[in-house]
């Protein structure tokens, strides 16, 4: 769970793509997922996601993310199916339309969430920030804010699991509780978690400031992020995905 957003080093073709290409492809896949309501197109997009993960040599991570999302998806699917009243009944209170739209909603959720975690797995956050500044001319301050926010997510998860570990060692029965009961036990721990997060944020800001953050300009980066033929191809493929999902 805790390494879900972490970078996995590698030299695959996907790793070597321009960070902006990867970001744009992520956005394109998300947009495509929202443009279409067709189950087969959504399944196709899911396949594209899995394929990208496998090509980048992070099959295990990809499947892990997929499994995690499936758990949420099953829950949402059941809820949605049981609450949809439109369409002709197939069985008990379940309707054909309920089944179809629920499947679409859940698939869309998976297809939208996967590329983001995949992108973070194959792109260094610092590269992402630098490329945003150099290629997209986003002010460094904003690029830094975005990437720092991303970096805090795994840190937050890690801290939560560390806190639970420490409380288990003190006899709080996290290891025996399940489901809602566990959630109830976790709530009181949110206060220290929030306090330490706010403190972390403050420390990060101060640490950045004392190292001369405000002096930094777009020209400070020493790595360059040129676009190659493969980047263009990838973006074309992404555009094709959009066209496909808009037409079908």
């Amino acid at each position: 769970m805790r390494e879900i957003f972490q970078y996995v080093p590698g030299t695959s073709l996907i790793h070597r793509l321009n960070p902006m290409t990867k970001l744009l492809l992520t956005l394109l896949i998300c947009v495509a997922a929202f443009l279409t309501g067709n189950l087969f197109v959504l399944l196709g997009l899911l396949l594209v996601n899995l394929l990208i993960g496998f090509c980048a040599g992070i099959a295990r991570r990809t499947l892990g993310v997929f499994k995690g999302l499936m758990k949420i998806a099953v829950f949402l699917f059941l809820l949605q199916v049981l609450l949809t009243r439109k369409g002709t009944p197939v069985f008990w209170i379940i309707t054909d339309e309920g089944l179809y739209t629920s499947a679409a909603v859940v698939l869309r959720l998976i297809v939208v969430c996967m590329p983001l975690t995949l992108m973070l797995a194959v792109t260094r956050v610092s590269d992402l920030a630098n490329a945003m500044v150099q290629v997209a001319h986003i002010p460094y301050k904003y690029a830094f804010t975005i990437t720092t926010a991303l970096r805090f997510i795994p840190q937050f998860l890690e801290e939560m699991s560390d806190i639970m570990e420490a409380q288990t060692a003190r006899g709080v029965a996290f290891d025996k509780a399940k489901g809602l009961k566990k959630l109830g036990m976790m709530l009181p721990l949110c206060a220290p978690l929030l306090i330490s997060s706010v403190r972390n944020t403050e420390h990060t800001a101060v640490a950045a400031e004392v190292r001369g953050f405000h002096l930094r300009t777009a020209r400070s980066g020493f790595r360059h992020y040129p676009f190659h033929g493969i980047d263009v191809l990838t973006l074309l493929a992404g555009a094709a995905l959009i066209a496909l999902s808009a037409v079908i």
């Binding site: 390494e3 420490a166 288990t168 006899g171 290891d175 009181p188 721990l189």
Partner: protein, 271 residues
């Protein structure tokens, strides 16, 4: 009491973090685990408390396999002070924080008994009890965390760097308290500490680790005098020990005994 048999452990998909550890700690021992940053000390301690389970090998505490009993059930037997006190503190006042740990494992003793325990610990650690943990300094928070672990009076204390961030007086005070628990109540102590003077003063046995392997296990003084071992584990032995080794004086480890040994030698030589 604590027994590790050929224990190896690796995090997720990395290589092994600790390799083939075997040792046995008896009741009432005071053991220090020494080693450089990243040597696997914290990992070893977590293995002992069952917070992580060995990839291969077996860990038993009081004869019970850590894989078979849940960690929370062991809390009364084993107290664990984490390297980062903020992971543990979860209540709004120091008093509540200390009481919280007691309630989870000693709830059956009743309000009054627990309150007495809390008061005793508060006094020992120089707290009034109304302080807010998160507005205390780092060293003070460390003391809060330690106080709430000691209050439970477990049979085994696992302390991950208990004295980091403490001033000299507070360090001595707390270590003396830990030693009292060890001597009077036969509490088994297992501690990681980067201050070799503290290790020399308090621990009797040491486990020396490097790169996830156990390089040495034995009497603290004997290990400190093993220059080759200390070098391999990147440990700088206490100065008196280093001086003693250099001069070939094995029995002295304080400035007083060292001075005596040197003087008697000189006296012997000139007479």
């Amino acid at each position: 009491m604590i027994r590790l048999e050929n224990v190896s452990f690796s995090y997720a998909n990395l290589g092994p973090t600790v390799r083939d550890l075997s040792f046995h700690i008896r009741k009432g021992e005071f053991v220090a685990i020494l080693g450089a940053n990243g040597a696997g000390k914290t990992t070893t301690m977590k293995l002992i408390d069952g917070l992580i389970r060995p990839t291969s090998g077996k860990v038993t505490v009081n004869g019970a396999d850590t894989r078979e009993t849940p960690v929370s059930q062991r809390a009364r037997q084993v107290g664990f002070l984490f390297q980062n006190p903020d992971r543990q503190i979860c209540r709004n006042t120091v008093r509540e924080e200390i009481l919280f740990g007691l309630q989870t494992v000693r709830g059956e003793e009743g309000e009054e008994a627990l309150k007495q325990r809390v008061d005793a610990v508060l006094e020992d650690f120089h707290f009034t009890g109304d302080e807010e943990p998160f507005s205390l300094s780092r060293g003070q928070r460390q003391r809060v965390a330690l106080a709430s672990i000691l209050a439970v009076e477990p049979e085994v204390l696992i302390l991950d760097e208990p004295t980091t961030g403490l001033d000299y007086l507070e360090c001595c005070h707390i270590m003396d308290r830990i030693r009292r628990m060890n001597e009077e109540k036969m509490v088994t102590i297992l501690m990681v500490c980067h201050d070799m003077e503290v290790v020399l003063d308090y621990a009797r046995r040491a486990l020396v680790m490097a790169g996830g392997e156990l390089l040495g296990d034995g009497d603290v003084r004997t290990l400190f005098r093993d220059t080759a071992l200390m070098e391999r584990a990147s440990i700088l032995p206490p100065q008196m020990i280093a001086l003693g080794t250099r001069l070939g004086i094995a029995e002295a480890d304080t400035p007083e005994t060292m001075a005596e040994a040197i003087l008697s030698r000189r006296g012997g030589g000139s007479a």
